[in-house]
């Protein structure tokens, strides 16, 4: 397959990676066996968000299906930094593609610890920083406010020489302004979009949420054109590469994200429908335009 691309110095075989939290390579290997390694669907593997401490995640139900997509309220379950490095990293390092680790913390100090620990591991090619985390004081996502993000990056950026990708939140008035702040503060790339804040009503308890975690995040084709608008808005204002995602289901969708200004794309929800979606999309993308 043609379509090799350089992304922040990583030589990727094609421009399709997975969206964080939507593919568990370890579980997939348990299910599909070594065929997964022989036929790995993505050109890089992005792990689920890792936090400093272990998290159990939200109580079920965690998933609600909507028109053209789904709402999730998974709640970032993970083993925590130490557990990840000990248990998951060895298996993930054996994948045939570069490894990107996604981290999140609610205060700068936490993020610094995460980034330093990840920076120390040669198996890890790049770091994605999830800034859809609510600020403990304002309740607003850190990534919704350019100034707050700049402060965070001022603390974090110096701690690693690995490529640092900032994953922006779409739940903001002007994502381009936040992206500009990320670039100015030393981010090597930005990725977008994360999920749109959404609410699923309980089927029998009026006003109550269906999802155990309360509010959730919407993904899938229903958000694809919101993603394209945000990718295009960001591309007009920054020069660092963009990882475009949100509802991508096929090569044409990926092409539209690239045309809007993304350097590579990530596939999330579509992998739930087709575990080889990443590979299929890369193949469709490599086919000549019609």
């Amino acid at each position: 397959m043609s379509g090799a691309v350089d992304f922040c110095g990583l030589a990727l075989e094609h421009p399709v990676i997975n969206a964080s939290g939507t593919f568990d390579a370890i579980a997939a290997q348990r299910v599909f066996g070594d065929a997964l390694l022989a036929d790995f669907p993505f050109s890089a593997f992005v792990s689920k968000t890792i936090t400093l401490e272990p998290r159990a995640g939200n109580p079920p139900p965690r998933i609600y299906e909507v028109a053209g997509g789904m709402i999730n309220s998974i709640g970032l379950p993970n083993r925590g930094l130490a557990g990840y490095l000990e248990h998951d990293l060895p298996s993930l390092a054996a994948l045939p593609v570069p490894l990107i680790v996604n981290v999140m913390g609610s205060v700068a100090d936490e993020v610094v610890q995460l980034v330093e620990a990840v920076d120390a591991r040669a198996e890890i090619a790049a770091i994605e920083l999830n800034v859809s985390c609510p600020n403990v004081k304002t309740g607003l996502d850190i990534g919704a406010d350019p100034d707050e993000l700049a402060r965070l990056l001022a603390a974090v950026r110096p701690r690693t020489r690995k490529p640092l990708i900032v994953k922006l939140t779409p739940n903001t008035a002007d994502v381009a302004r936040v992206a500009v702040a990320a670039e100015a503060s030393g981010a090597d790339a930005v990725s977008l979009i994360n999920t749109l804040r959404a609410f699923a009503a309980h089927s029998t308890r009026p006003g109550a949420p269906w999802l155990g975690g309360g509010t959730g995040g919407q993904s899938g084709p229903a958000v694809r054109h919101v993603a394209l608008a945000q990718i295009a808005a960001v591309a007009r204002r920054v020069t660092i590469p963009i990882v475009g995602m949100g509802g991508i289901q096929n090569g044409r969708h990926a092409r539209e994200a690239l045309d809007a200004g993304a350097c590579i794309v990530a596939v999330g929800t579509e992998s739930f429908r087709d575990p080889l979606a990443g590979q299929r999309i890369a193949r469709e993308l490599a086919a000549p335009r019609v």
């Binding site: 997964l36 609600y64 053209g68 739930f272």
Partner: protein, 272 residues
């Protein structure tokens, strides 16, 4: 003896509906899956219609749907469905010759009882499905079993025809025992306290089975349901809480779990 499952083929396969039957309130789809490995009892597949998956109530379905294997013959897998929403509605609309996307077989299935112990299969509604393939496997292994099935009413009780010679209970008394299938289960366990219980059904039934078996110290294997997006461990959507305070993913750690791992089989958001 343990039953071990082969890896699922990587990627969804396009498969043709080769038969479509009706048993009262239930429909059965037979799929010509010649390339997949044989499924184990209790395993499931993710299914979606290739055409017009979507456009039903609330512009759904969008995600594939988890369905237990009802029965497997060489190169063919059977599924039992009840129309409870846009996904099952669409699948039940399919006719012979239509195509589905199939992923699987997936998950951890049932394990046979220890040598010399009898199996009691206790299920209800579409929970009948995994008990049919289990019954076939036990018979093939020479293990004695009895099946107890609970249904709402007579149209649903026609699903009992999918097993060999089950004892049936109905909520409205129209067929078999008038009452709950768990009453039949208690009676069976009174008669044979040494049996092992296998169960699948709506969460309240499953929970009643769990509680009965716990109280009696009888080992039980429960096939759980849970809302799933992916079926292969990717989304972390399908979790249920376990006794040790953690969550397990029903799709990769289940759907069959030993009852003593659970404090409750009442899964939030599953069932109707």
């Amino acid at each position: 003896m343990t039953w071990t499952a082969a890896s699922a083929p990587l990627g969804r396969r396009r498969i043709t509906v080769s038969d479509r039957r009706t048993y009262g309130a239930y429909g059965v789809l037979v799929l010509a899956d010649t390339n997949g490995p044989d499924p184990q009892p209790g395993q499931f597949y993710m299914l979606a219609a290739v055409e017009r998956w979507g456009g039903g109530a609330d512009e759904r379905p969008f995600l594939p749907r988890a369905l237990s294997v009802l029965r497997a013959e060489p190169g063919r897998a059977h599924f039992m469905l009840e129309d409870v929403g846009p996904g099952t509605d669409r699948l039940l609309e399919l006719a012979v010759g239509d195509d589905v996307w199939l992923l699987g077989p997936l998950g951890q299935g049932f394990q046979p009882p220890e040598e010399g112990r009898r199996a009691i299969l206790c299920g209800g509604g579409v929970g009948t499905a995994p008990l049919a393939i289990l019954e076939d496997a036990l018979r093939a292994a020479g293990t004695a079993s009895v099946a107890l099935l609970g249904f709402r009413d007579a149209p649903h009780a026609q699903g009992a025809a999918l097993l060999g010679d089950p004892r049936v209970a109905t909520d409205d008394g129209s067929v078999g025992h008038h009452g709950r299938v768990t009453e039949l289960l208690s009676a069976e366990l009174d008669a044979d306290p040494h049996a092992v219980v296998y169960s699948c059904g709506p969460p309240p039934m499953l929970e009643a089975v769990r509680a009965i078996c716990e109280a009696r110290g009888v080992p039980a294997q429960l096939a759980l349901e849970s809302g799933m997006a992916c079926g292969f461990g990717a989304c972390y959507g399908c979790v249920v809480p376990t006794r040790d305070g953690s969550y397990i993913r029903v799709c990769v750690d289940g759907p069959v779990v030993d009852a003593d791992r659970l404090d409750t089989a009442l899964v939030a958001g599953a069932g109707h």
